[in-house]
Symmetry: C2
Subunit: 204 residues, 2 copies
């Protein structure tokens, strides 16, 4: 259990930490992020408020750790199939933003952390960096296979994928289903040159 936002394991060690993080997710699901209080999490976990505050400086840090445990950022296996690997990456991203706990909290969390550069940097490390590295590795395999342009902008690909999914969940409330997953995957596998800065583009 990585506790990126804690200053160390709380009283009672890992078992107590797990209980507190479980409780944090339960309260989050029931009440939503804005209404969530450390008091409510402490009550649900059956610990004192001071136990939580001893290890997490504030609500943002506690929730960030609680969500980090369920946020998908795994390595994408080398399947020898660029489309399949990219679809894995898109599905992973959709899972993250479709999980109600994560989807309802990440933007408010990000907004709450923005004024605190040090927390924000750990937030990006936790929620973005590892996922992006693992997806970039899959994209680079596609480049090596000749399925994607050599100068593919892997950051832009990921911003388009994650951005579109987050925007649909948050702003337009339209489905993030398998049709979207397939569409976003093919947008890259079949139009890779669109994601290359100076690729051999053919004008329309």
């Amino acid at each position: 259990m990585a506790l990126a936002f804690s200053s160390g394991p709380p009283d009672g060690g890992p078992r107590s930490a797990a209980k507190i993080l479980d409780a944090a997710r339960d309260v989050l699901s029931a009440q939503g992020y804005p209404a969530l209080t450390i008091e409510a999490v402490a009550a649900a976990a059956g610990v004192g408020k001071s136990t939580i505050y001893r290890w997490w400086p504030n609500k943002e840090a506690l929730i960030a750790d609680a969500l980090a445990e369920i946020f998908r950022a795994e390595e994408i296996p080398d399947l020898g199939d660029t489309h399949a690997e990219l679809r894995h990456a898109v599905d992973m991203t959709i899972d993250n933003y479709t999980n109600e706990d994560i989807a309802a909290s990440l933007p408010a969390l990000a907004a709450g952390l923005l004024p605190h550069p040090e927390l924000m940097s750990r937030f990006r490390e936790t929620f973005l960096h590892r996922k992006r590295e693992n997806i970039a590795a899959a994209l680079r395999r596609g480049v090596q296979r000749g399925d994607l342009p050599h100068d593919l902008d892997t950051d832009l690909v990921q911003d388009v994928w994650a951005g579109t999914i987050l925007y649909r969940r948050l702003m337009t409330d339209t489905p993030t289903d398998t049709a979207l997953a397939e569409h976003l995957t093919r947008l890259v596998t079949e139009n890779g040159s669109g994601f290359a800065p100076r690729a051999s583009r053919t004008p329309t």
Copy 2:
């Protein structure tokens, strides 16, 4: 002045409303959305708190109206040039999310409104519907000119544009500059088939 979130003009009519909305933006810039209170806006506007509450039910509604005034959603002129019109659309979207007041507030606002379907629907109407309609009209002109596929998914195009820009501002803190604007524009003008559900795709 459209006050989509107000139940009517406040005491003193349009001039008083303008003063309150100006004050709301000032306080928002200075303190950020989470810390903003109706009290602070009332003080900055030189009106009583009750004047504001008489017309706006809550902080979300007041801020939504204050931001709606500066949110770009204008009609895109017919320039006879699909690339230029789409670039106008992308620039408008970047402007909206680059404006500090809007960028810092929209996600928190959206998250705050999500539990209130009626407010959420007015929020979408105010911030999304008109902008999306005007951009869709420009995309349809591109289709009519034969520059874009006849079955272009105009919603997906807009979700990709706005999502990528919002995500860069909120999550990765990477530039939303003219290079990105041009890249997002060409992603559609030069790879339109990627945004068509069953278009004549060439496998890579």
